[in-house]
């Protein structure tokens, strides 16, 4: 049975070896244990023994070649006659190169993938022996002479001085016959780069750990990272609560489940792009034919020294909402928040920085005639001019206030705006 001669694995971390020389010639009779060829690795040079008896045939790698471990380089056959001409596919010469053996850029170090051609040491067309220095190579580590590795004539040079040639790429052709017209080329495209060593077949691995599900996006915090427990974050997300409200309301961090009730009390706001079902928006509309508010404001300023009409508006709205509370008076883009204490003294209404319980959106000076803005963080009461009177819209969610309370709020506010003096009664 013919026996393949392969490049042996000779070291713990070696993947190729250079054939220094064959100690038997093709057709020679060999006995198992005979020294067959000499190999050089990064560590040492050593003889490799024949692993079978027979005749050396099918030699496909010559002295000087670097051969990957495991690659067949010859065969030990039962007869010398079996040595058919090498069936190895001849590399297609790019530009009608002379026939002969290609000399490649050798691997000279463990982690080197190219070498710079310093210069040719044999004249083009001259005769060379296998041990004659052919060219000089510079790697990151050193400069060294590379022997021809074959006997014949330097028929072609495929790289010029200064070219950086990948390991394994042909740099010269040595022909058996004296070449008629030797060829000199610069480095050609990387056509004959050695095939990468096939990776050992890996055993399939099942990744037992389940792929982590994409994490749900938390609502963007108000001004930087909010310190809150994972559980509170989850519950807030589920209930459509925004932890930013705790920050806005000035509650100290970190937040835990114990802060949930406070957060709920601050009111719900649909958290965008979280997949949480949006909260149903409720809307109430009221109208009054006339409004004495402007006159009332004038009167209050003159007789009671209450010059801030916004504070008056907030006071009326707060009383309707249920004081004590905080009312924002919004006249886009301006927004002022007022603290409305219990009782009816409008002079006690003061500006604050707390979060509002109700937004009074004053659109009287705009041409907006109808609104449907949906639920916001807190109920929004929009005031619009309609002729001599006003149109009032209250938008809120069931979570913010029960509808009964909303009706009372809107009715009372409408009454107060129709006749502000009623507030004082």
């Amino acid at each position: 049975m013919p026996h393949d001669v392969t490049m042996p694995q000779l070291g713990m971390a070696q993947d190729a070896g250079k054939i220094v020389s064959w100690l038997k010639a093709p057709g020679d009779k060999v006995a198992k244990g005979d020294a067959l060829f000499e190999v050089e690795t990064d560590k040492a040079t050593m003889e490799v023994e024949a692993q079978a008896s027979g005749f050396l045939t099918h030699v496909t790698a010559q002295a000087g070649e670097d051969v990957p471990v495991g690659q067949a380089i010859a065969r030990i056959s039962e007869s010398a006659e079996e040595d058919a001409p090498a069936a190895a596919p001849a590399p297609q010469a790019a530009d009608a190169l002379p026939e002969g053996r290609e000399i490649t850029m050798p691997q000279l170090g463990m982690a080197q993938d190219s070498g710079v051609l310093v210069g040719w040491l044999v004249e083009l067309g001259a005769q060379v022996g296998p041990d004659d220095p052919l060219f000089e190579v510079e790697t990151d580590k050193a400069t060294m002479e590379v022997p021809a590795g074959a006997r014949g004539w330097l028929a072609a040079t495929l790289a010029r001085k200064g070219d950086e040639v990948p390991v394994g790429q042909a740099v010269a052709v040595i022909s058996a016959e004296k070449p008629e017209s030797p060829v000199a080329q610069g480095m050609r495209a990387q056509a004959s780069a050695p095939a990468p060593k096939p990776a050992p077949e890996p055993v399939a691995r099942t990744d037992k750990a389940a792929q982590p599900a994409p994490a749900p996006k938390a609502a963007a915090p108000v001004g930087g990272r909010i310190l809150a427990s994972p559980k509170l974050r989850r519950v807030a997300l589920e209930q459509g609560l925004d932890l930013g409200q705790l920050v806005a309301a000035g509650h100290p961090q970190p937040y835990h489940m114990r802060d949930l009730e406070t957060l709920k009390a601050l009111g719900a706001r649909p958290v965008a792009s979280t997949g949480v079902a949006s909260v149903a928006s409720l809307r109430l509309e009221a109208g009054i034919a006339t409004s004495d508010f402007a006159a009332f404001a004038d009167w209050a300023a003159k007789t009671a020294g209450l010059a801030d009409a916004d504070a008056l508006l907030a006071g009326l709205a707060g009383a309707s909402f249920g004081a004590p509370c905080c009312i924002a008076v919004e006249r886009i883009p301006a927004r002022r928040v007022f603290s409305v204490p219990a009782g009816r003294r409008l002079s006690d209404v003061t500006e604050t920085e707390s979060a509002p319980d109700l937004v009074l959106r004053d659109l009287r000076t705009t041409r907006v005639q109808a609104v449907s803005m949906g639920v916001e963080q807190v109920p929004v009461l929009t005031v619009m001019q309609r002729g001599a009177g006003l149109s009032l819209v209250l938008e809120f969610s069931a979570g913010q206030m029960p509808p009964e309370r909303a009706i009372v709020l809107l009715s009372e506010f409408a009454g107060r705006m129709e006749d502000p003096l009623r507030h004082l009664l």
Binding site: M1, D4, T6, P8, Q9, L10, G11, M12, Q14, K43, A44, T45, M46, Q51, V69, G70, P200, E201, V203, A204, R205, T206, K208
Partner: protein
């Protein structure tokens, strides 16, 4: 079982087993050199007479513990090529379903408690097996194979002490192949190795490990005596490993010369010596033995081909056998 056979059968079996080991190793070496085998391995070639001479004195009920250089013990104790090559290649049909590899082959069915990749790691196991035999009134004997390098492990002296105290049926078989990995034994071992066993009152012998008949004769006598409660015993078997410490240890002239290797191979080879003996005594002809060799080579080639084609374990086996049910 040995008694039932004629010498001829015993001798031919010993020859066969030695050739099987050599052939197995030649193939394993080829698998490594041709990069078809993952990891690396340690060749038993040259030491065949030790494993065969001893294991031919044992029954399947007798236990052995083996070493990183363990293919020889495994074959000698009765293992099959196919499951062994499959194990070397990490295939599902290997003796350990590909989980042990070269250095951990265990073959429970023939009493091989396993190779061990810790030098000296199995000395406790072997002695414990012998303790179990004594406690359970069983007459099996355990042989603990280890190399000269392992004599530097303290565990040996702890367990020899207990084995001697409790007269355990264990035989410590020290394969002295002259090298402790890459270092000459004389550089790592002070004094006499057998004298160390003798210090515990253990009867110790030194024997030519390249002479299978001498090894086997001694082993039979000691095994029989160990069965009767006269153990433990210690044998130092003078032998030689033809390869380096492992298959990749090829360039080794810095610690031993080629001339030395050649001397052992040419003049002291256990197979060549025994073959000559068989022919000389008229037990077999050269032609008989050539035919036997050819058959073994064929077996090995078939087993290698089978193992190369065999399937790797399913990925689902990766966390199987961490715990026993």
């Amino acid at each position: 079982m040995a008694k039932a056979k004629s010498n001829t059968e015993d001798y031919l079996r010993m020859y066969t087993q030695m050739v099987r080991i050599r052939t197995f190793e030649d193939n394993a070496n080829q698998l490594y050199l041709s990069a078809k085998m993952p990891g690396l391995t340690h060749m038993y070639s040259g030491e065949e007479a030790v494993a065969v001479g001893i294991c031919e004195a044992l029954t399947d009920a007798d236990r052995i513990t083996s070493t990183h250089r363990g293919h020889g013990h495994c074959v000698a104790k009765g293992a099959e090529f196919k499951a062994m090559f499959c194990e070397l290649l990490g295939k599902a049909e290997g003796y350990c379903r590909g989980k042990g590899g070269s250095m951990h082959i265990a073959d429970q069915s023939h009493g091989n408690l396993g190779a061990n990749a810790i030098v000296g790691g199995s000395m406790g196991i072997a002695t414990g097996s012998a303790l179990r035999a004594k406690l359970q009134g069983s007459d099996d004997v355990t042989v603990c194979f280890f190399g000269d390098g392992a004599t530097a492990q303290g565990l040996l002296y702890e367990v020899m002490n207990m084995a001697a105290l409790w007269k355990l049926p264990v035989i410590y078989a020290c394969e002295n192949n002259g090298y402790s990995e890459y270092t000459k034994t004389e550089e790592i071992a002070a004094g006499s190795i057998t004298a160390r066993a003798e210090a515990f009152g253990i009867e110790a012998h030194q024997v030519d490990g390249q002479d299978v008949l001498e090894v086997n004769d001694l082993a039979r006598k000691l095994v029989a005596r160990a069965r009767k409660g006269e153990g433990p015993f210690f044998i130092e078997l003078m032998t030689y490993r033809y390869h380096g410490h492992h298959v990749g240890d090829i360039n080794r002239e810095y610690y031993r010369s080629k001339a030395e290797e050649k001397e052992w191979k040419d003049n002291r080879d256990p197979i060549i010596r025994f073959r000559a003996h068989l022919v000389r005594e008229g037990i077999a002809t050269e032609a008989d033995l050539d035919a036997l060799n050819a058959e073994i080579e064929k077996d090995a080639a078939e087993a290698v081909a089978y193992a190369l084609d065999a399937a790797y374990p399913d990925a689902a086996e990766v966390d199987m056998h961490v715990y026993a049910a």
